[in-house]
């Protein structure tokens, strides 16, 4: 429960979501990630650290460089976590729409 909340908060931040989106395309070095943002390198570094701690990103050493990869397994877990809540509302609203389409005012 505790871990899941941390992950949830990690992905709620717009910058961190942007980082995930970038890294999802291909593995990147911290420097390459930071170049994509106006924020300071330290700020981006902190975001990367949070994402890594939550196991959303994984580090891999390639030669002298560290590359960040997306942890697909963890990402799926996170998507699954908010999805039932969204799906519940979507189903209810579908039902509302269906009921109201059949509705004939008798006034």
């Amino acid at each position: 429960m505790e871990l899941r909340r941390d992950v949830f908060q990690a992905i709620a931040d717009p910058t961190r979501r942007a980082i995930i989106t970038l890294v999802a395309l291909h593995a990147m070095t911290p420097g390459a990630i930071a170049e994509k943002f106006d924020s300071s390198r330290q700020t981006i570094s902190k975001h990367i650290q949070i994402l890594t701690e939550c196991e959303l990103l994984e580090q891999k050493q390639t030669g002298r460089e560290i590359y960040y990869h997306i942890n697909a397994k963890k990402m799926k877990e996170v998507a699954d976590f908010i999805e039932p809540f969204r799906k519940m509302w979507d189903d209810r609203f579908d039902k509302l729409e269906a009921v109201m389409k059949k509705y004939k005012p008798n006034k």
Binding site: R4, F8, M88, W89, D91, F93, K95, L96, Y103
Partner: protein, 155 residues
């Protein structure tokens, strides 16, 4: 499949914003929340009380196929502007969960389409996260009950 319903749950905030566009004129969308018999149809719950006015009260109840009450929620209507918006509190009875404040806004997108925005404020960030994690709201029990009911009919 297109994701019609959107959920916004920002970092460290004790609120959730749920939006959905409907293929319905705004008046019909509002009516679905206003008329008890319509609420009963789409929410799959029994409406014990629904006083659509300032300081009015509401209470919904769901029973299982054996008639046992499995869920009951109630609250107070704080503001009610027909066709546009209402504000209410929501609390599940016999649960440890604190009341939440809900703002409903109804807008016309075109003559035949509309948008609903539900803004829910919880007592704490932890409570909000817990509600989301459990996929909660009255929906789970109600959806489950409806399934069960449909299954009973098939027997």
């Amino acid at each position: 499949m297109e994701r019609k319903t959107k959920i916004i749950a920002e970092d460290g905030k004790q609120e959730i914003i749920i939006t959905r566009e409907f293929d319905l004129p705004v008046d019909l969308l509002f009516k679905a929340y206003e008329e008890p018999e319509l609420v009963e149809q789409w929410m799959g719950t029994k409406v014990l009380k629904l006083e659509n006015k300032q300081h009015g009260g509401w209470q919904f109840e769901t029973s299982d196929a054996q008639g046992k009450v499995v869920f009951r929620a109630n609250g107070v209507i704080h503001e009610f502007v027909p066709g546009q918006k209402f504000t209410r509190t929501f609390q599940m009875e016999n649960t440890p969960f604190d009341a939440q404040l809900e703002f409903f806004r109804f807008e016309a997108v075109t003559d035949n389409t509309s948008k609903l925005t539900m803004h829910i404020v919880y007592k704490t960030v932890a409570l909000r996260d817990q509600m989301v994690q459990m996929g909660f709201g009255p929906g789970i029990n109600m959806a489950h009950n409806r399934l069960q009911h449909a299954a009973e009919k098939l027997k």
